[in-house]
């Protein structure tokens, strides 16, 4: 399997596209900054959101049971799934129970995580993703490359060609307005026929059994209110205790995700529609195990705003697919090794540890710290490549010894200055692959300080 850096190489081969990707996500980050700084209490909100989630993780079992009890009283049916297989089985069971053949789904990273679409396809059941970005990548048989902007890796011309093939749009027309209206007409047909609507869940309120879903397109609601059966799928960590807590999270989520003051639609589903059916599926899939891990527990606070991706210098310049895990970027890099440490051992290294992710996180997950912890754990478990381990070990030795440090500095300066270019920029020197090494100074800082501190001191002593 190719690692992150090899796949990033592929992404960077198209310089123009990579530059566009980088710039576009940075613009989203700037919008986020503007929205965040418009609220003087922004930092209080982040702290409160983090504390609410702390409270949730501490009392999760009680809150889940309270939620279940309320939801059942409201007339919803609650299902529990330990893992992806059980979740997919429950969904298949519901589809069978209602004899449904037209199924629509709005955005849900959980169903991606469980491979629901693929599972149902194998059984001959089609699920139509209704978020525009998700429909685009579903047509292309691709996973999302970003959790909030699933088709951010594509250019309008590619989508124009795709829609020409799938939706019979005009050849060569890649105007976003035109393409969106074609998708609207196509998906409207799907909504009107839908028998089951599946959604993800942004927040589930323990005290009321209410499920909250936020969208800009209104696609979750189009599905839920068209279809007689609504199914909301949530990970166990989506619980929040009180209705009042929604005040905190709705103020943070859209501002931090896209810079909007709030999502266009914030829908609160409590009871099934008259004559309809409402199901809620609560999924564990490894989360309760992670809850017991003091170091990595905090990652369960994530509200999936995607801000850590937009700000990450590595994500912006390598694209979502280079991570090889369904949630890419900094948060994905700490979630992926939980799922499969062996196959994702390189992800915690796909970071400069600049801490920007931690600084924008709306629930204050210590992402950079967790990346660093993962590096240590993966090295100890010998899951990091032998070459990287050797370099790390040598670096550790050199940096721990004064004499080795001085010597290797002198060596490096001499090598870069005196050896022919070919010998310096050899394949092992990955740093020099796409960039020039910095100009070599005449002496090290240590040497410079020794001379200059001496000189400085003299005039004072003369006085």
């Amino acid at each position: 399997m190719k690692g992150h850096s090899e796949k990033a190489c592929g992404f960077l081969a198209d310089e123009k596209r990579a530059g566009w990707h980088d710039q576009t996500l940075w613009t989203v980050r700037l919008k986020r900054d503007k929205a965040a700084s418009s609220l003087p209490e922004w930092e209080d909100l982040r702290e409160q959101a983090s504390q609410i989630k702390e409270d949730v993780l501490t009392h999760l079992a009680d809150y889940l049971l309270r939620f279940e009890q309320q939801a059942v009283e409201n007339g919803a049916e609650v299902h529990w799934a330990s893992d992806a297989a059980e979740f997919n089985g429950i969904m298949l069971g519901l589809i069978g129970k209602y004899k449904a053949s037209h199924i629509v789904k709005s955005k849900s990273m959980l169903t991606e995580e469980c491979g629901l679409n693929h599972f149902l396809e194998e059984k001959g059941i089609e699920v139509v993703d209704t978020d525009l970005g998700e429909r685009i990548i579903q047509f292309r048989k691709e996973p999302p490359s970003h959790i909030v902007l699933p088709a951010i890796h594509l250019k309008r011309e590619e989508i124009g060609r795709l829609f020409q093939e799938k939706l019979n749009t005009e050849e060569g027309n890649s105007d976003p307005q035109y393409l969106t209206s074609a998708a609207r007409a196509h998906l409207r047909e799907k909504f009107l026929k839908a028998e089951i609507a599946i959604t993800g869940v942004n927040f589930a309120v323990a005290e009321t059994g209410v499920v909250v879903v936020c969208t800009n397109e209104g696609n979750a609601d189009m599905g839920v209110h068209c279809a007689p059966v609504q199914v909301h799928c949530m990970g166990i960590e989506k619980i929040i205790p009180r209705t009042a807590d929604l005040g905190v999270f709705t103020r943070l989520l859209a501002r931090n995700a896209t810079g909007q003051p709030v999502s266009a639609y914030t829908s609160h589903y409590r009871k099934p529609k008259p004559g309809g059916h409402m199901h809620i599926v609560i999924v564990d899939n490894g989360r309760s195990k992670r809850l017991g891990d003091n170091t990595f527990r905090n990652s369960l606070k994530c509200i999936r705003c995607g801000a850590c991706m937009n700000t990450c210098p590595v994500y912006r310049r390598s694209g979502g697919y280079s991570y090889g895990y369904l949630i890419p970027g900094p948060i994905g890099s700490i979630l992926a090794p939980v799922a499969d440490a062996r196959n994702h051992a390189d992800l915690p290294f796909a970071s400069s540890l600049c801490m920007s992710c931690t600084n924008v996180c709306p629930v204050k997950i210590d992402i950079d710290h967790q990346l660093y912890k993962w590096r240590q754990e993966l090295s100890e478990r010998k899951l990091v490549s032998p070459f990287k381990r050797l370099i790390m070990k040598s670096a550790g030795k050199i940096l721990a010894s004064n004499a080795w440090y001085n010597f290797s500095g002198r060596m490096a300066r001499w090598v870069v200055k005196n050896l022919p270019r070919k010998l310096v920029y050899h394949p092992v020197n990955v740093w020099g692959k796409e960039r020039e090494l910095p100009a070599v100074p005449r002496e090290s800082f240590k040497e410079w300080y020794k001379h200059n501190a001496q000189k400085r001191r003299t005039p004072h002593e003369q006085e």
């Binding site: 576009t24 613009t27 209080d44 409160q48 409270d55 993780l57 501490t58 009392h59 999760l60 079992a61 889940l64 529990w80 330990s82 209704t130 525009l132 970005g133 685009i136 309008r156 976003p176 969106t180 209206s181 609207r184 998906l187 409207r188 909504f191 009107l192 309120v205 009321t208 209410v210 800009n216 397109e217 209104g218 696609n219 609601d221 189009m222 839920v224 209110h225 068209c226 009042a244 005040g247 103020r251 896209t258 909007q260 003051p261 709030v262 266009a264 639609y265 914030t266 829908s267 609160h268 589903y269 009871k271 099934p272 529609k273 564990d284 309760s288 809850l291 017991g292 003091n294 527990r297």
Partner: protein, 188 residues
């Protein structure tokens, strides 16, 4: 049973109770006129149009002149007709007028619940949406908004902020992704 297995696992793994303190934003007494200004600014930001009338008695005249085809559900027989309407019938809806309960100054959102429309699909499937709102019914932020909502008062409720939108193609903003292409807010 998975439910008991999951709950058991959570109980076993949950951290020891930490401290949790509730933060509440200090309540500010922002003047009504200022709230209205903030609300209007944010409506513009989220792509909604707005009009301001001098009183509720002007509302129907305003609608008759500007949106003669707009459907409203004040009459009981209209309400009943649409209550059990199929999605196919609702698909034909053009312009719809709904009454909002209150607005939120900080983001231009308006709260409605299922007592405000005969069928839950209506706010989403109408081609154009008009929401009328008394100008005195604007709260400052989402904290105050959730204080006002009765969390078990309705089977379905929502905040609407602007028309349906998407930017999934190259981040170009397009209105009318699925739901209403336009949202007009009429303050009175």
């Amino acid at each position: 049973m998975s439910r008991n297995k999951i709950i058991g696992m959570i109980r076993q793994n949950a951290p020891q109770s930490g401290s949790f303190s509730v933060w509440r934003k200090e309540k500010t007494e922002t003047p009504v006129a200022r709230l209205k200004e903030m609300f209007k600014d944010n409506l513009t930001r989220v792509g909604a149009a707005f009009s301001e009338l001098l009183g509720k008695d002007q509302l129907y005249a305003f609608i008759n002149v500007n949106y003669p085809d707009a459907l409203c559900f004040e009459r009981e027989e209209v309400w009943k007709e649409y209550q059990a309407a199929s999605p196919d019938k609702l698909d034909k809806l053009g312009t719809v007028l709904l009454n909002g309960q209150f607005g939120v100054a900080e983001n231009g959102a308006i709260w409605l619940d299922e007592s405000d429309f005969p069928n839950r699909l209506i706010p989403f499937i109408a081609r154009e949406l008009i929401i009328s709102l008394p100008s005195g019914q604007i709260v400052e932020d989402m904290h105050q908004a959730y204080e006002r909502i009765d969390p078990i008062g309705s089977g379905f409720g929502l905040f609407i902020s602007g028309p349906s939108k998407t930017a999934d193609i190259e981040q170009s903003l397009v209105y009318g992704a699925h739901g209403p292409v336009t949202l007009t807010v009429v303050l009175y």
